[in-house]
Symmetry: C2
Subunit: 498 residues, 2 copies
């Protein structure tokens, strides 16, 4: 006999409703990026904003406080209790900040982001700071309120939105470790690669052929095309809904590897979404665990698997089938092309070895900014100092390719950057755990047996949704807490051995 | 000074909200037909149904009865009063039927339509009637309730949903006129065309070339591609929102004229939507006047203009540019291909001369059905009798290509069919009025001057939205009430003269 859980049932009914309404927003948002003609923009923005207002009202209904308390006294199963924990997290996030502050944030970030679009190409740091001060002020107030409520540090409170349960102490621990060995490792890899011959592919590459190539690689990666699509947008993303994943990429006739590996990356996000627990799909407990765990899937696909020499051997014939035979398209050369390491100014163009340096730099700056230790005016000098230290690059006066390069700060997304590198670390840890369980994993990948990888990820990560807190998910999946040593060994093995 | 109209303002705020929420439903509905992979269907249906429940609740909020009455006492402008009339119409439609009946209808039509999909190919009339009886019973109850409230006949009450203000007396008048001359005209046209030589186009026709051809003809028709798109779906339609019109077509390698003229048809619907009054776009008064007026635009494009010999002369070089040069692609032959008249069993494949016969038949049967004069069992015999009389065709035992051919009855859309032929009549009347005002219209069309046509339609129809009742719109646009003589003269002139 099932015991009555009326309060919990009211909460799950609400979240089923939110899931369905959010579905419409997700499809309309994807359509906006992938299909919508210019004149549709104003009406689309109004429609999406109406929906956001509506779902916000549903999430902040005053009655929910009591319903949540009542549900917590009900006789729930372990799964239901996990769901209730996530429902409370969703409720806390929606109700933590007063409406006036939410509106002020919306105004500040939308003004700053809009102006940033032209300020970046104009290298206009002074103009940017004018708007950015208010974004920082709002971010600090949000951080203060959330930190008070959660009883934690201010930056940690913002980070919790993307990476629940992650502490600054933990980030300091793993990033501190990273900072010790990364610059030296970058130097050794660059020195070693200096003498390696690499053949450049010769374009142009027909866009329809590239699209077909992306499709065949997505099939190799077991993307379910009956439950998703690949389309084109200016900024690639993985959107849609778990039942119908909408991935996008962009094509350039001069560079097929960018869209191909971008597609492999998004396919990792896509398969995570496609394999969330089905029977609870409308409930928060079914959602992807966190941003770092999401990124650990896209990087497991793009870096751990996608640039794996065995996997490159599987892709090479697909590349030749679509783009013709070229000297550059032999497996060894393609693998080299995918693992070139170069110190550069731009984060989104960075390889997996130098990428963490960009994140270390941003983490240090945005944390100090949120906690009031520095002001926006102080950023360029700190940026330049860190770029010199970590990547030996001079960015003096080059704001465009310096602190103006990312959309995160104009949008007030403080606390997000660490997730990228935490994700790379988790991805390395998943593959280390797989190798321990399956010592012949690399040979199997090279033979085209990818199901051991997909089965491991499906079982340990995808179908777990948000059932466990992140640290427990990590221990259950890999047998230990987050350990940056796996990432280090991955880089050393791929870039410095043999 | 503007007088306060608080109740009216509350109503316009509600309708702005509904417009925005309906936007999301329209885009998700278009996406479902044009993009969605199979496994997305269940979640999409749940999302759309959640939205429908939500907007229905907003439309049936008990407070609206008093708000409407209060608004009717407020000092409104003429435009506002027209808007209020349409708001009341929307309210009446949403509130006229008890929720239990709406649910019963949903259940009956969804079961009947679903089974019909396989019953039609199986020619299973007996199986169909099993489900259809309940659809008819629900339709009769709806008709009775609506007729009571509106003080009109039962069929008229159902027709009013699609064609507000249209009476059965008026339909009887114009269809009675039509029935007198149509069968004779069909016979004369067929006799005359029997001796005309026509060259058939030789396929196959590349789908990408056909797509480009449709695009170039849409540009010729001034479709605004910054405010809409053309995509592919199984059943072509014109959807989306007025700010972003989503047209679809389907391609066959063996027949390019079907998709081309289907696209011309949908472009008429699309331009009507794109040119609805902008400043009131979120309000009911901005909506297209009625289904017959909407159809008058698609038929003005497809038949009046699209099959006009002058316009065919403009399309011919576009056809040759995309599909290559063929003997069949000279203007005279293309014009003949577009005006072939043939008695056939299927309405959607009918030419403009025989099409009205299909509508006369359906109008007679569905009206008798709704008013209780016949039962579903009586339909096949009546169908056969009417097909013999109007088109000299025997349909005995062929239910698949007889009463099972249309989706309207399984979906319970009684009262819709007359709109098709009323639309054809209005379209002929618009062109007759244009010719009276611009005696050189046909020469101008042949010279590629299409703006006189578009300007006339924009000014008289598109930008009028729902400002006037249909009969007043018709008189303001063309100087007289609906007059089926224009349609007759159009057919005689195109098919029997010179």
């Amino acid at each position: 006999m099932t015991l009555a859980t009326p309060a919990y049932d009211r909460l799950t009914a609400l979240h089923a409703r939110l899931h369905r309404l959010d579905h419409l927003g997700a499809i309309a948002g994807w359509d906006q990026a992938a299909n919508m003609p210019t004149k549709g923009n104003e009406a689309r923005a109004a429609a999406l904003s109406e929906l956001a207002t509506l779902t916000h009202r549903l999430r902040t209904d005053a009655v929910l406080r009591d319903t949540l308390s009542a549900a917590e006294q009900e006789p729930l199963s372990e799964d239901q209790r996990a769901n209730l924990r996530e429902i409370r997290r969703d409720w806390r996030a929606a109700n933590a900040l007063p409406e006036a502050l939410v509106a002020r944030r919306q105004m500040a970030t939308s003004r700053c982001e809009h102006a940033w679009r032209s300020q970046r190409p104009a290298n206009d740091w002074a103009g940017f700071v004018e708007n950015f001060r208010e974004v920082v002020a709002v971010g600090r107030e949000e951080a203060a309120r959330l930190a008070d409520e959660m009883g934690c540090g201010r930056y940690e409170a913002l980070m919790d939105r993307y990476e629940p349960g992650m502490t600054t102490a933990e980030v300091d621990r793993v990033f501190g470790d990273l900072r010790q060995w990364l610059p030296g490792l970058i130097a050794r890899v660059i020195e070693r690669q200096a003498t390696e011959p690499v053949i450049s592919p010769e374009g142009p590459f027909d866009v329809e052929r590239q699209r077909a190539l992306c499709g065949s690689v997505m099939r190799l990666l077991d993307f379910d095309f009956d439950a998703g699509r690949l389309d084109v947008s200016t900024h690639p993303f993985c959107g849609g809904v778990p039942e119908d994943v909408r991935m996008t990429t962009r094509f350039s006739e001069h560079d097929f590897l960018g869209s191909l590996m971008g597609t492999v990356h998004e396919t990792g996000h896509g398969r995570y979404e496609q394999n969330r627990p089905r029977h609870l799909i409308e409930q928060p407990v079914s959602q992807a665990r966190s941003m770092a765990i999401h990124e650990s899937q896209s990087l497991a696909f793009e870096m751990q698997l996608g640039s794996h020499p065995g996997f490159v051997g599987l892709m090479a014939p697909l590349v030749r089938a679509q783009l013709g035979d070229q000297a550059a398209f032999n497996t060894a050369n393609l693998a080299r092309l995918l693992t070139r390491v170069k110190r550069g100014l731009i984060r989104v163009e960075a390889d997996e070895v130098t990428y963490p340096a960009h994140v270390l730099l941003r983490y240090g700056i945005e944390r100090a900014l949120v906690e009031g230790d520095i002001e926006p005016e102080d950023i360029p000098a700190l940026w330049d100092e860190q770029m010199r230290e970590l990547l030996h690059l001079d960015t003096c006066g080059n704001f465009r390719d310096g602190p103006l390069q990312d959309v995160h700060w104009p949008e007030g997304l403080f606390g997000y950057f660490p997730c990228y590198t935490l994700g790379a670390m988790y991805a390395a840890q998943w593959f280390a755990a797989m190798r321990q369980e399956m010592p012949d994993l690399d040979q199997r990948i090279a033979r085209g047996e990818l199901s051991p990888v997909f089965n491991w990820l499906r079982e340990r990560i995808w179908t777990q949704g948000s059932r466990w807190p992140t640290d427990e998910l990590c221990r259950r999946a890999s047998g230990q807490a987050l350990n940056p040593g796996h990432f280090r060994r991955h880089l050393e093995s791929r870039y410095l051995s043999a």
